[in-house]
Amino acid sequence: MKYQSQKIALAYFLVAMALFAVQVTMGLVLGWIYVDGNFLTEVLPFNVARMLHTNSLIVWLLLGFFGAAYYLIPEETEREIHSSKLAYLQLAIFVLGTAGVVVTYFFNLFEGNFLLGREGREFLEQPRWVKAGIVVAALIFLYNVSMTVLAGKKTAITNILLLGLWGLALLFLFAFVNPSNLALDKMYWWYVVHLWVEGTWELVMASILAFLMLKLTGVDREVVEKWLYVIAALALFSGILGTGHHYYWIGTPGYWQWIGSIFSSLEVVPFFAMMSFAFVMVWKGRRDHPNKAALLWSLGCATLAFFGAGVWGFLHTLHGVNYYSHGTQITAAHGHLAFYGAYVCLNLAIISYAMPHLKGRDPYNQVLNMASFWLMSGGVVFMTFTLTFAGTVQTHLQRVNGEAFMDVQDQLWVFYAMRFGSGVAVVLGALLFIYAILVPRREVVTPGPLEKGRLDHDADHVAAE
C-alpha cells in the first residue's frame, strides 16, 4: 500500500463482505420458500425477503465499488484521497441508511409517512429519508474522488471510473420520481436500474478490470487504455437504447420492441470485448504476479459476465422470444449469473487483490480463496442451469399451454429443490471466501519439485502460496 488513504477501502470492503453474507443467506431463505411455499410466511413475507435480497446485493456491490475507487484512485492519481474523514462519514451514512431500510421493511413502523414510510413500490422501496441520505453520501463521494482526481494525475482508468460513478449517482435521482401510473413508474425505474447495470456500472467494471489487468499482468498502460476506451464506447452505444428491451410490454409504444431488440442484442459485444481483453492481457503479460487468486477472480469475472449478462441476456432479449419468456424463471437465471459474473466476481477480484496490501501481508490464503471461487461459481452456474430449465418448462406450460401459474409452480418443484442445493454451495463458498480473506496467516501449500525448480532457476517467477 503506497498511500495511507487507501486504508479507507478496508472499511468499505469489510462492510461490503458482511452485507454479502446477509444477501446470500437471504437468498437461501428465498430458495427454501420456493421449495416450501409456507416457510416463514407470517414473519417474513416473500416480497420483503426478496427486497432484502436484491437491495442488499445492490448496496454491497456499491460499497465494493466505492472501496475499489478509494483503493485505486490514490495509486492512479499518485496522491492521497482529498479527505479521509469525508470518506468515513459517507460510509457511516450508508450503514445508517441500510439499517433504516431493513428496519422499515421488517417492521413497517411509519406506514404512509411521507418521509419515513415505505413507498409501496417493488424495488425502489427505500423510505425517502434513506433515498436523500444516499444522494448526500453520493455527493460526498463524488466531491471527494473528483477533488483527488482533479488535483492528481489523470489516467484513462480514473476518467472512465469517474464517468461511470457520476452517471451512476445522477441516474439514482430518478428514484425520486414516483408517478401513480404504474407503467410510468416502471419506465423511470428502468432509468435507474437498467442504465446502472447495462450502462454506468459497465464503465466501473471495465475500469476496475483494467486496473487489475495493469497490476496483475504488467501489460503497457497504453494497450490497456485503448481497450478500455473501446469497451466503454461499446457499452454506452448498446446499453443506453438497449433500455428498450424493458419497454416491450409495460404500455410504452410498439417501436420500442425493435429499438430494444436491436440495441440490446449488441449488448453482448462489450462483454465479449471485456472477456477478450482479460485473456489477451494475460497472454501478452510479462509479470508473474503472486496473487493468483485475484487473477482467477478477474478472469472468472470477465468470462461469467460474458455468459451471464451477454449470452443469457441475449437468450430472451428479442421481443418475439420475450413475449413468451417474460418474467419466467429464465429471467431469474439470467439475473443470477449476470449479477454474479459481472459485479460480484468483480468486487471479489478487487477485494482479493487489495486485501493483502491493506492488511500488510502476503496473499497467503490463495488456495482457500481459489477453492471458494470454484465452489461459489459452480453453485451459481448450476443454479443458472436449473433455473433455465425451470424457465423453459414454465414458459411452455404457462405461456404456450395456458396452465395456471400456481399449477405450473407445483410442477417445477424438482428444479427449485436442486436450486436450493446449489444455493447452499454458494453460501458456503461466500463464507469460505470471507474466511480466506480475513483469517489465514500462513502458506497453505508448499511447492512441489517442479515449482521449486522454477523458483530456483527463474528469477522472475513468484510462488503461488
Binding site: 503497457d220 464506447a233 461499446l234 425493435w258 459485444v269
Partner: protein, 186 residues
C-alpha cells in the same frame, strides 16, 4: 510487448481518423443492418400491405435526396484533400457546402414527414411505417449529428480531425444509399 510489435504500426493504427470513430461506424452499420434485415423479414409476412404503405412515401424526393447526400459526401472528401494539402480556407468552404447540402436533405425529409403526418400516418399505422419512421428518423438524427460534427472538425482543421468527421459523414451517406432502395423502391 516486444520492440518489434511497438515499432510496426498495427492495422488499427493505419485507419484514417480516430480509432473510436471506426468503432462507432461499425456499430452503426450493425444497427442499421439489423434494422433493414428485420424490415425485410417482417415484409415477408405482408408483402401487399407493405407495397400499399410504401406508396405514401415521396419516392422522387428521396431520389433527389440521394443525389444531395452523395454530393455532400463528395464535398467532404474534397475537404479531406484540402486539409491534407494545408489549405484551411478551401477546407472550410467545402465543409460549409457539405453541411448546407445536409440541411437541404433534412428540409426535403421534413416535407415528407409533414405530408405523412398530415395524412394521419403514424408509427402505429402499419408495420411498414414503424420501420420506415424508425430507420429514416434514426438516419435523419445522424445527418444532424454529422452536420454538427463537420462544423466542429472544421475549427482545428487538422487532417486527422477532418478525416474523422468525413468518415462519419460517409457512413451517413452509405446508410442512406442502403435505406433508399430497401425502404422506398423494393
Amino acid at each position: 510487448m516486444t520492440d518489434q510489435a511497438t515499432d510496426r504500426p498495427s492495422a488499427l493504427d493505419q485507419l484514417p481518423g480516430e480509432l473510436m470513430m471506426w468503432v462507432l461506424i461499425v456499430s452503426e452499420l450493425l444497427v442499421f443492418g439489423a434494422g433493414l434485415a428485420a424490415f425485410l423479414a417482417v415484409r415477408i409476412t405482408d408483402p401487399a400491405g407493405f407495397a400499399e404503405a410504401q406508396g405514401h412515401l415521396h419516392r422522387a424526393g428521396a431520389g433527389v435526396n440521394t443525389i444531395v447526400l452523395v454530393t455532400s459526401g463528395w464535398l467532404a472528401a474534397l475537404a479531406v484533400q484540402a486539409a491534407e494539402a494545408g489549405r484551411p480556407g478551401r477546407l472550410r468552404a467545402l465543409v460549409a457546402g457539405a453541411i448546407a447540402l445536409g440541411a437541404v436533405f433534412l428540409v426535403l425529409k421534413g416535407a415528407e414527414y409533414a405530408d405523412l403526418a398530415h395524412a394521419g400516418i403514424t408509427f402505429e399505422t402499419h408495420a411498414f411505417f414503424t420501420f420506415s419512421y424508425l430507420l429514416t428518423g434514426f438516419h435523419a438524427a445522424h445527418v444532424m449529428a454529422g452536420m454538427i460534427l463537420l462544423a466542429v472538425v472544421a475549427v482545428p482543421a487538422s487532417p486527422r480531425a477532418v478525416e474523422t468527421g468525413a468518415a462519419f459523414w460517409h457512413m451517413v451517406d452509405l446508410v442512406w444509399v442502403l435505406l433508399f432502395p430497401v425502404v422506398y423502391l423494393l
